[in-house]
Amino acid sequence: METHSQILDRLRSSFRSGITVPEAFRQAQLKQLMSLMTENEDQILDALKKDLAKPKFESVIAEVDMVINELHFTIANLNSWMQPEYVSKNLATKLDDCFVRREPLGVVLIIGPWNYPLQLLLSPLIAAIGAGNCAILKPSEVSAATDALVAELIPKYMSQDCYAVVRGAAEETKALLKNRFDHIFYTGSQAVAHHILHAAADHLTPVTLELGGKCPCLIYGKVNITYAARRLAWSKFFNTGQSCVAPDFLVCSKATRDALLPALRQTLEDFYSKEPESSADLPRIVSPRHWTRLMELLKRSKGKVVMGGESNEESKYIAPTVLVDVAEDDALMEEEIFGPFLPILTAETLEEAIALINRQEKPLALYVFSEESSVVNTVLEKSSSGGFCSNDGIIHMALPTLPFGGVGASGFGSYHGRWGFETLSHQRAVMLRGWTLERLNGLRYPPYTEDKLSWLRWTTSAKPSCSLM
């Protein structure tokens, strides 16, 4: 059994040997990861079912397919991302070769969460491989079946010299963090993020934090309430609300709420039938501890349950639940819910709603349902969030060309597609000069004169485009 430092030393010396640098190696490893995904789909679906009772549909589109899409996208575009980027020059550097090289950082630590245990661990890995790094994966122990599966499959398919899986709980992770990495990529909660950032500061290690927050959802102006209800319910109760980008709470006027409730009721019945507990399409809460946390929250809430509320401790089941008359200081508004409770807060005007959400921390995602573009634009201009989606939920994170990341308390840094490649690369500025024009260089050498200075001002200024053109 290797110790953490032994694993790290082994990976570091592999990295130093330069093996991960050539494109061929990176492509080969990405293709291996692709094989891992396609050849083990059944086992993956099984593990996800054990961990979260994930229905096959959710596992396929939110875990397996997302990883495969990311792989396709990276494999197809890696070559162009790796090319040196030539930059515009000023007069003094006109004859030089000036470009930016994307270079790997070294050994990256990727810490995954339990809610999408495969996708949120492997998507950063794809970025790390594409950028030419070695990586240590630390899957979440809470999603135990996936943790075990990852530990079994990664060494089977990927180069064992460059990629390793480390398992364990809080203690082991703390010990792992004492080591020095070249980048730490963490997805999870704010509480743990503090520890990670403190540990990273000791070594001056750059960090990417993908955290959560309370993602607000606003409904204002003219809107097709049936469609809005469907999309809202789908994004909220996907994975039983255990998504970092799930709409956490809803803000709308009383009238909208009254129109929305029957639409929501109908939608939930359409989706999960009158007995959601028997529906094959509703996942379960990940662990007894999280189930208890959620039930406690519900108990402390002063809101009124108008839909759902049923639960079953043994199967970790909680029904899709909607609550009204929830105030801003309610228990459900204290922390990220991360479960199937949808509190509805009321604010009569859009301005009040925006003021309400701005009193909260910046969320990972912000949603607006409205057919009026003025409403959408107002919210966009007067708020901030990691990402934004109007008239739908969650779907913006499935696009690899959009950066996925938070701002403020919801994190910093971003990934997916090229964004991940850039996050896990170093952009090295390169300037190749020649020996000629030394006389021009003479302008900058002492002894200094007024003349030299004026010439220099002229040659180093960025020229605006010629006004004649």
């Binding site: 330069g18 640098v21 589109i61 397919d65 899409n69 197809a76 575009n77 930059v87 515009s88 020059k89 003094a92 550097t93 000036c98 704010q190 993020a193 950032l197 403190h198 990273a200 001056l204 750059p206 934090l209 955290l211 809107v223 469609y227 999960y272 529906s279 966009l380 007067k382 969030s385 990402g387 989606c389 779907i395 994170m397 499935a398 696009l399 690899p400 060309t401 959009l402 403020g408 840094g413 971003s414 170093h426 090295r428 500025a429 390169v430 300037m431 190749l432 000069r433 020996w435 030394e438 900058r444 050498y445 002492p446 030299k452 200075l453 220099l456 001002r457 180093t460 960025a462 605006p464």
Partner: protein
């Protein structure tokens, strides 16, 4: 005092006035005026702080700042505009783009060696990105920091961009507050403290640190020109530059020639007695003077070595055959001492560099392009310049920043704007086309699942070579068929015409 300033800056930011592009442009114009109208005062302050010559100031600081401001003014509209991205099948009729947004209140901690450039360049980006900024110049360059505190409020919005002066305790007090980004330039040890403090609030940081920037001189190169460029870079600002070539690596056979060329160049630049040259600087304070003098202890320089504590003057000094384990080679020199360390060849130099922390800059003097390329590929550093030193700093299209212990993040030009913005992913959908969405709702079955999988697939357009060749071939064939069809039609029409023509002709006859 610090708390009030930070509070006011935050309230000013929340009022939303820093967001409008016109406002940002107005502030940038104000900043430009501040520099151009006060060049003399700034030069005087720098002379008092660090004995900077009146030419070095515009050369090393002011021209750079003015250029950055002009670039930001010219490009701001472009930088702040939404950036469209490629869509997949599901989002084909939606608006999908990335919108750069301000972060909020940025803390900028400047350094003392280039007190104006290293404080104002980040400020240009902060303003351009629509943020408020609390500016904390270094107390070691005291005259400059007091002058900045007097000038900035006269030209820029007082509440959005306060200047806080003070020492270690004031900085620590500032760091207790919550900022949306902290931009620090300085030493690695303080960098850790800054990152620790920022960690308490989960605040992202940009750290522009230092390190020992190696300078390798290959035996196949124009040693004379190389030494001129190195001498300039090393001894400007009396060696107190984060990207100054810290030490030289070369083979023993050229060491003598290198020393000779350095000696000749020093004579040309600063005369026989650099102490009398108006163009040669001084060490910032007694503490650093003693520190640098201490590094030299036990070694006899081949050039220079003289000093005058009363003036904090240290002559341009070169030392050869310096052992790798000496004190001189343990920490960043940040002074006018240039050690030469012997290596057996380029491979040895690469090994030497890789055994140490990643530096902020790497300099390679070599006439063989392939060899220089190899050295670049086998090492890592913030930036690299071949056959010169420091010039990558002057090109704002190049990202300027460190890696590993030399820092994290990058800036200059658009890079500062991006560093101090949040890239917000935006997907604008409509509530129409709900039928397409039906496939993704529960209860689920295979057919619906397949439709959804198709819609989410990326990339939309297959970029592989095979498909591209197929696409080109298909287009060519298609075009060819079209042309053939046109020809046939024309001939048919022509025949018809000809028939009519001849019929008419015959009729006439």
């Amino acid at each position: 005092m610090e708390r009030q300033a930070v509070q006011r800056a935050r309230e000013a930011f929340l009022s939303g006035r820093a967001r409008a592009v016109e406002f940002r442009l107005q502030q940038l114009h104000g900043l430009k005026r501040m520099i151009t109208e006060n060049e003399t005062e700034i030069s005087t302050a720098l002379k008092q702080d660090i004995n900077r010559s009146q030419y070095d100031t515009p050369l090393l600081e002011l021209i750079g700042i003015e250029n950055e401001i002009k670039l930001a003014i010219g490009k701001l509209a472009e930088w702040a505009a939404p950036r469209s991205v490629e869509r997949n099948l599901l989002t084909i009729s939606d608006e999908v783009y990335v919108q750069p947004e301000p972060l909020g209140v940025v803390l900028i901690i400047g350094a003392w060696n280039y007190p104006w450039a290293l404080t104002l360049l980040p400020l240009v980006g902060a303003i351009a990105a629509g943020n408020a900024a609390v500016v904390k110049p270094s107390e070691l360059s005291e005259c400059s920091s007091l002058l900045l505190r007097a000038l900035l409020p006269r030209y820029l919005d007082k509440d959005l961009y306060p200047v806080i002066t003070g020492g270690v305790s004031e900085t620590q007090e500032l760091l207790r507050h919550r900022f949306d980004h902290v931009f620090y330039t300085g030493s690695g040890s303080v960098g850790k403290i800054v990152m620790e403090a920022a960690a308490r609030h989960l605040t992202p940081v940009t750290l522009e640190l230092g390190g020992k920037s190696p300078c390798y001189i290959d035996k196949n190169c124009d040693i004379r020109v190389a030494c001129r460029r190195i001498t300039w870079g090393k001894f400007v600002n009396c060696g107190q530059t984060c990207i100054a070539p810290d030490f030289i690596l070369c083979e023993p056979c050229i060491q003598g020639r290198v020393v000779e060329c350095l000696r000749l160049t020093l004579l040309e630049f600063y005369g026989a007695d650099p102490k009398c040259s108006p163009d040669y600087g001084r060490i910032i304070n007694t503490h650093h003077f003693n520190r640098v003098m201490g590094l030299m202890e036990g070694y006899t320089p081949v050039i220079g070595g003289q000093s005058d504590a009363s003036q904090r003057y240290i002559a341009p000094t070169v030392l050869k055959d310096v052992p790798p384990h000496s004190r001189l080679m343990q920490e960043e020199i940040f002074g006018p001492l240039l050690p030469i360390v012997a290596v057996s060849d380029m491979e040895d130099a690469i090994r030497f560099i890789n055994e140490r922390e990643k530096p902020l800059a790497l300099y390679i003097f070599c006439s063989d392009k392939k060899a220089a390329k190899k050295m670049i590929e086998e090492t890592s550093s913030g930036g690299v310049v071949v056959n010169d030193v420091m010039m990558h700093y002057t090109l704002s299209s190049l990202p300027f920043g460190g890696v590993g212990q030399s820092g994290m993040g990058r800036y200059h030009g658009k890079h500062t704007f991006d560093q101090l913005s949040h890239q917000r992913a935006c997907l604008i959908r409509s509530l129409g086309m709900e039928n397409v969405n039906l496939s993704r709702y529960p209860p689920q079955d295979r057919r619906r699942a397949r439709r959804v999988r198709m819609a989410l697939r990326a990339p939309l357009i297959d970029m592989s070579k095979r498909t591209f060749i197929w696409a080109v071939t298909a287009t060519v064939i298609g075009f060819g068929l079209f042309v053939a069809l046109m020809v046939i039609l024309l001939i048919a029409a022509g025949l018809n015409c000809t028939c009519w023509y001849w019929r008419g002709f015959y009729n006439y006859w």
